[in-house]
């Protein structure tokens, strides 16, 4: 019998000659195994952490939520007064504040981000394009407390002067700051969406006599729409979750704002401002965790939606 070319041993009767070689656990096999395990753990840890955080937040507020909280009244209650006797936990001012500020932020961020993405993706060339991309990445890396300081010391006097209002820390200020913070990441994602549009479409449209603008407007943007929507959603998620900069720029007033010149408070800022003072395990403490849960659910939904938009559409295309 001829020796197997792989193991040098004669092949045994039942198995094919290479079966043993496949089963052989040499150093290559072990390093491959180790690498796979580490990568697997890394991947799993993402899901694990999400689940753990969710459980933590949920359990901290669970007892209060189940026994002493009327969810409907909480969501619509216009007064958030946790420290008076008896305390009132109406989250409407926080929800409204968050919504107002996020809305203003998007009004500012969407044109900025899309403008930047279109310019970089469709018009800028070579070196200029690279520099702009680096610039945007650097903007995205500015710590949020710096943005807070800008709101506090730069935007505030500007708003007071330009609009002639008393209070410079308000929805407008926080919205501008958040808009500027969310724009870079939105621009990056939007630019990816534009880049994913095949160049042959642009070429085809140009060959039919379209100007560069017509190409962008009639071909590129419609085709990139799912990705652009995802960019907006992720921007909203970003604006929703931001804390310290809003706390500094919004004036943190616990009332439903009636115009963009009113101060306002957000869910995140309230949690950050009050959690340290609330007695651990008390009603106020638990209530803040309920707010956290609300935030978690909202941002989670937004992110899922964004993901679904990008992935679902790509599959069907």
């Amino acid at each position: 019998m001829a020796p197997s070319p792989l193991t040098g041993e004669p092949a045994s009767a039942g198995q094919p000659p290479w079966a043993k070689a496949l089963d052989h656990r040499d150093r290559g096999w072990w390093s491959d195994f180790a690498a796979r395990t580490i990568v697997w753990l890394g991947g799993m840890s993402a899901i694990l952490f999400i689940a753990a955080i969710f459980l933590f937040i949920a359990t901290q507020g669970l007892e209060f939520m189940r026994h002493r909280l009327d969810i409907g009244a909480m969501l619509t209650g216009a007064r958030w007064e946790p420290t008076v006797e008896p305390p009132v936990y109406g989250a409407l001012p926080l929800i409204a504040g968050t919504a107002w500020i996020t809305g203003v932020a998007m009004l500012i961020a969407i044109p900025l981000a899309f403008g930047a993405a279109i310019y970089i993706g469709e018009f800028a060339r070579g070196k200029q394009r690279e520099w702009l991309k680096i610039g945007i990445e650097m903007l995205a890396a500015i710590p949020s407390v710096v943005w807070g300081v800008i709101g506090l010391h730069v935007m505030k006097p500007i708003i007071q002067d330009v609009f002639g209002v008393q209070v410079g820390l308000n929805v407008l200020n926080a919205g501008i700051i958040l808009g500027l913070m969310a724009a870079p990441i939105m621009a990056t994602i939007a630019e990816d969406a534009l880049k994913a549009v095949p160049d042959s479409y642009r070429e085809a449209a140009e060959a039919l006599g379209a100007t560069r603008w017509q190409v962008v407007w009639k071909v590129v943007l419609p085709h990139a729409r799912p990705g652009l929507s995802a960019a907006v959603l992720l921007g909203i998620g970003r604006a929703f979750g931001e804390t310290i900069a809003v706390l500094m720029a919004s004036g943190h007033r616990l009332m439903v704002p009636e115009s963009i010149f009113d101060s306002a408070a957000t869910l995140t800022a309230t949690i950050a401002a009050e959690l340290g003072e609330a007695a651990v395990g008390g009603d106020h403490y638990q209530m803040l965790f309920v707010l956290g849960l609300l935030l978690f659910v909202i941002t989670f939904t937004i992110n899922l939606l964004a993901d679904w938009l990008v992935r679902g559409r790509r599959k069907s295309a």
Binding site: R125, G126, E203, A204, E206, A207, A210, T211, K218, H223
Partner: protein
């Protein structure tokens, strides 16, 4: 002078305005010179085939004729190209107007990710000052699709995505969408190379049918195709035009040694 004449031009006298007149054209991609002092006259109303080994500059020359080459920022062109007597590289010439006069069909069918109808109307709508009435648009769509023999196959699904059509249908659609702006010249860069043999002959037949109404300049790698479906033939080599004669003469009695070497398959 009318920009595009629709008479049957096959029997026109030789002094009729040529469809394309290329004078002393050189082109560089960055520092690399891809075309060297090309002089070429493409007659009106016939099919002219361009052949030559890979990399000799056929696509480059074709893409100069509607200035689509300029999409690349690093292309420099010298010389002139006249389309029906107008220099398209003139300072005043508008690239958009040129491309309306000179349609282009690409190697890979590239319908836009829109409906069949919107594809056909795309070029027209770009240039129309006002949006045409629905009835006018429908008429235009039907006429263009009939001209490429696609109407009966797609008339019931004009609102479907064009990208769902078969490759053959896509390529025919890509020809159809050039027609509503009434171009005089059609440039085609290996329009059949992505198609199977049956689709190839269908599209070839179509191109042959369009001859007369349009002046067609077509790049092909396929000797047999050039031979059976063109009136004149241009042979290029390393950025130069080596020979340009009537097709039957080129394949029977080429003037240049390089041409006969290429045709007999000795290189390329």
């Amino acid at each position: 002078m009318a920009l595009h004449s629709r008479t049957t031009i096959l029997s026109l006298p030789a002094n009729a305005t040529p469809a394309i007149e290329i004078v002393d054209l050189s082109l560089w991609y960055g520092k690399f010179q891809a075309l060297h002092d090309v002089d070429l006259v493409i007659r009106s109303g016939i099919v002219t085939a361009m052949i030559g080994p890979s990399g000799c500059g056929k696509s480059t020359l074709l893409r100069s004729c509607n200035r689509i080459n300029e999409r690349l920022g690093y292309v420099t062109t010298t010389g002139t190209i006249k389309v029906l007597g107008h220099n398209i590289y003139d300072e005043e010439a508008s690239r958009m107007q040129v491309r309306r006069q000179v349609g282009m069909v690409f190697q890979r069918p590239n319908p836009l990710p829109l409906s069949i109808r919107d594809n056909v109307l795309f070029g027209h709508r770009l240039h129309a000052v006002r949006r045409s009435s629905r009835a006018d648009e429908e008429g235009m769509v039907e006429q263009a699709l009939r001209e490429v023999l696609l109407w009966d196959r797609v008339k019931d699904r004009l609102d479907r995505k064009a990208t769902a059509l078969s490759l053959e249908e896509q390529q025919k659609l890509c020809i159809a969408r050039l027609l509503p702006t009434k171009p005089s010249v059609l440039l085609m860069d290996e329009p059949c190379s992505a198609l199977d043999p049956e689709a190839t002959s269908a599209v070839e037949d179509l191109i042959w049918d369009l001859r007369g109404n349009y002046s067609i300049l077509i790049v092909t790698h396929n000797m047999a195709q050039a031979r059976r479906a063109s009136d004149e033939c241009v042979f290029m080599l390393m950025g130069h035009v080596v020979e340009h004669t009537a097709t039957e003469r080129m394949f029977v009695a080429p003037k240049k040694q390089e041409t006969s070497d290429y045709i007999e398959g000795r290189f390329g």
